[in-house]
């Protein structure tokens, strides 16, 4: 069984690495300028010149998918980074100290979790306004509770373990105890949560951009491209397909990694 889990991890890692290489190359070079329009090359199907065809403005879809995947990836990355950092801090303190701070923060946590996340993100967007950075902020806030809960429960479990008691007896300070002794021990649990969280962030960005509040045109993002492509679903299916497949690959890669990691830990 362990072998099977490992193959998940391997396949996921391969897909993710390929995507990452494409994204990183795309930051410096794409076959065409992703925003370059061309009246004579509108809505062309996939060909050797345009691997994924062209869109309604005659822009090269492959170049846009590459850049769009980059934008989506960056937003997902930043979102997870915010959620993770704040989530770890909250989780460590509430889990270790408990008491009224724990009560208050966890109830706030619960109330955030009680809302459908897209709805809450839309509320935040309505307050802050749209655009790339506000999306990161809004989604980042939404991602805090799930990380905080996870870290909290792990800390609560670990704090009565022998190694923590020993460290305390040796006179280790609370901060050092939390960050140097306990935190590294919950990293394995966190890793699969990060992989899954990253997936959710990719999908959340795509959803937000699909709704028109994320990345602003003419810059591409995978969700935006899906949104623009739906008008042409019948006449230019390659448009929606390209963006859709890029999302699938990003999510699939991290999903498999997450599953592989989770399986290894449990097994």
């Amino acid at each position: 069984m362990i072998k099977g889990m490992n193959s998940h991890f391997k396949i996921g890692a391969v897909i993710t690495c390929i995507m990452l290489v494409i994204i990183i190359v795309g930051m410096f070079w794409t076959p065409y300028d992703p925003n370059q329009m061309s009246g004579s090359e509108k809505m062309q199907g996939p060909s050797l010149q345009h691997l994924f065809g062209t869109d309604n403005f005659g822009r090269d879809i492959f170049s846009r998918v590459v850049q769009g995947a980059g934008a989506t990836f960056m937003i997902a990355f930043a979102t997870v980074a915010i959620g993770l950092t704040v989530g770890i801090l909250i989780g460590l303190f509430t889990g270790y100290f408990g008491g009224w701070l724990d009560e208050i923060l966890m109830r706030i946590n619960d109330s955030i979790l009680a809302f459908p996340s897209i709805l809450l993100a839309l509320v935040l967007i309505a307050i802050f306004g749209g655009g790339k950075y506000n999306i990161i902020l809004a989604l980042g806030i939404l991602f805090i509770p799930s990380f905080a809960r996870l870290v909290r429960s792990e800390v609560a479990r670990q704090k009565n373990m022998d190694y923590v008691r020993n460290a305390k007896l040796m006179g280790v300070g609370t901060m050092r105890l939390l960050f140097v002794h306990i935190l590294p021990n919950i990293v394995p649990v966190l890793l699969s949560a990060i992989a899954i969280g990253f997936n959710n962030a990719v999908l959340a960005e795509a959803s937000m951009s699909f709704l028109g509040v994320g990345v602003q045109p003419p810059d591409p993002s995978l969700g935006r491209m899906l949104n623009e492509a739906q008008t042409y679903l019948m006449s230019a299916p390659w448009y929606a397909m390209s963006a859709g497949i890029a999302i699938i690959l990003l999510v699939l890669g991290f999903g498999l990694i997450g599953e592989g990691l989770g399986g290894e830990r449990n097994g």
Partner: protein, 513 residues
């Protein structure tokens, strides 16, 4: 576990294959402005998809009513005169009219046998009440801006009504299309008009039902029933048309029509001027040189080609071609696309390195968002760094339309009536709707001259002068009159475009099967 991966891989392969198949398919045939394939029959029902529910108030005199509401109420309410699809004003509730020499007194003779939808006859009292209410003669606050120029309304006997104006206005007839309503019914609560269709049912955010009015004074409609279904998503609208869940939709753009092979498509103009409207009061757009540079930098034909598949009519000022009398075709190409010239003008204005320009666009209007994307690209070529800020329609109304807190925006402005003043009044420096904050003494003077003269030729000249000033000063970048498409399911024919923002259901008919 391996099986799951296999499934994923297989479905990916399938997706790619599908995409490849799609690439080979030819463009489907689109049936534009078809000839009816049979004789019209009386009766039938049509379901029309509309993208937004009508306003909460259907009072025809509420001036803030949206164009979408006005276009539907056109079928329900009528005025003393009524425009037709050619742009002529025909007597409606009035049987005839006369104007005095100084164009400040209009006399209307009431038509016999015009009935309201509740069965009552239209009396002279109803006419006086309606016009007085719309012009705000008692309250001092006009409800309908178009008839704000009325000084008094008086009945002579029970057949004639005399309307006196505060100032001469030869275009007044175009504005007296204001609805006549029964004086004993509150239009906020009940919708009672005289038009070919009566209003029978409304389910908020869901549907509106209109039924044929059997006692209509004029040519009776073919259809028995028109149901308006609110479908607020453009893609769902197109899908519903394809599936036959709705029979008709108006205000479609070519990219949507392309998906609708097999339906009857009617192409017309939207009778509105789409433009990059600039806030002339903020830096750097307060400099005419900068605005002219923008006009040279933007290639209108390229916008039409890229974002509208070549369908659309270019304009050069705040006037659309359907108002033939006032449309000045020479202004269309006053600024020919010329990046070098644009850069030169920018340099002269002191913006050698360009500047940042924010384009605020209502996010629900895909055609304007598309236009913005092309403009961003075009401006980049001359060093102007433009960004798009998509906002909700209500935010747009609040910030741009009412607050004038914006740099530039892309929308279309239409005319209420078939009058030049509807397109030009807003650019007077003290006009409440002057969202461009355009201020030109020459313009104000030309506009005053136009509205105060009673000589038709002189007035037309003065309006044309206004248009010329708008173009020369580059008040805004006027782009095009966007092509507008109507799609109707197989058996329906007969749609007619108006030089106004209206959808006339009375001419639509079904053919015998």
């Amino acid at each position: 576990m391996k099986k799951r991966i296999l499934v994923v891989v297989l479905s990916l392969i399938m997706a790619f294959t599908l995409a490849a198949c799609g690439g080979g398919s030819a463009e489907p045939e689109i049936n534009i402005n078809p000839e009816p394939a049979g004789e019209p029959v009386e009766g039938g029902e049509i379901t029309v998809g509309v993208t937004a529910d009508l306003d909460s108030s259907l009072d025809p005199h509420v001036s803030s009513s949206s164009a979408g509401t006005r276009e539907i109420l056109f079928n329900v309410y009528e005025g003393l005169v009524k425009p037709d699809s050619e742009g002529n004003l025909n007597p409606a509730i009035a049987e005839s009219y006369s104007v005095n020499d100084t164009a400040d007194e209009y006399t209307f003779v009431l038509r016999d046998g015009v009935k309201f939808h509740n069965g009552n006859d239209v009396t002279i009292d109803d006419v006086v009440y309606s016009l007085s209410r719309a012009a705000g003669l008692e309250t001092g606050e006009p409800l309908v801006a178009d008839v704000a120029g009325i000084a008094s309304v008086e009945a002579i006997g029970d057949k004639e009504v005399v309307v006196k104006l505060k100032a001469p206005d030869t275009e007044f007839l175009a504005h007296i299309t204001t609805a006549i309503i029964p004086k004993d019914i509150d239009p906020e609560k009940e919708v009672v008009g005289t038009g070919p269709f009566k209003f029978t049912e409304r389910k908020v955010q869901e549907s509106i039902t209109l039924e044929k009015f059997g006692e209509y004074w004029g040519e009776k409609p073919y259809l028995d029933k028109v149901t308006l279904k609110v479908i607020d998503n453009a893609e769902t609208l197109v899908m519903s048309l394809k599936s036959g869940a709705i029979d008709m939709a108006t205000h479609l753009v070519f990219s949507q029509v392309k998906e609708l092979s097999g339906l009857n498509i009617y192409e017309g103009a939207s009778n509105a001027v789409q433009g990059l409207y600039l806030n002339n009061a903020v830096k750097p757009l307060d400099d005419p040189l900068v605005r002219q540079a923008l006009s040279y930098a933007i290639d209108k034909q390229a916008i039409v080609d890229l974002a509208f598949d070549g369908h659309g009519t270019l304009v050069g000022s705040s006037m659309f071609p359907a108002l033939k009398k006032y449309f000045v075709d020479e202004l269309t190409n006053y600024y020919t696309p010329d990046a070098a010239k644009a850069k030169e003008l920018l340099k002269e204005a002191g913006y050698e390195n360009g500047f940042d320009l924010e384009i605020t666009v209502p996010s629900n209007m895909q055609q304007h968002v598309d236009t913005a994307q092309v403009i961003v690209e075009q401006l980049q070529a001359v060093g102007i760094n433009a960004t798009i800020n998509q906002v909700e329609w209500n935010t747009w109304l609040e910030d741009v339309y009412r607050g004038r807190k914006y740099q530039s925006t892309i929308v279309s402005f239409d005319a209420h009536g078939v009058a030049a003043s509807d397109m030009l009044a807003r650019f007077q420096s003290d006009n409440g709707k002057n969202i461009s904050n355009f201020a030109s003494e020459a313009y104000d003077k030309a506009y005053k001259a136009a509205v105060s003269t009673t000589d038709d030729a002189a007035q037309t000249e003065a309006f044309k002068e206004c248009e010329k000033i708008l173009t020369e000063e580059a008040a805004n970048v006027y782009i095009q009159d966007v092509a507008s498409f109507v799609a109707m399911g197989g058996d329906f024919y007969g749609y007619e475009f108006y030089p106004l923002y209206v959808a006339d259901f009375s001419k639509i008919f079904k053919i015998a099967e």
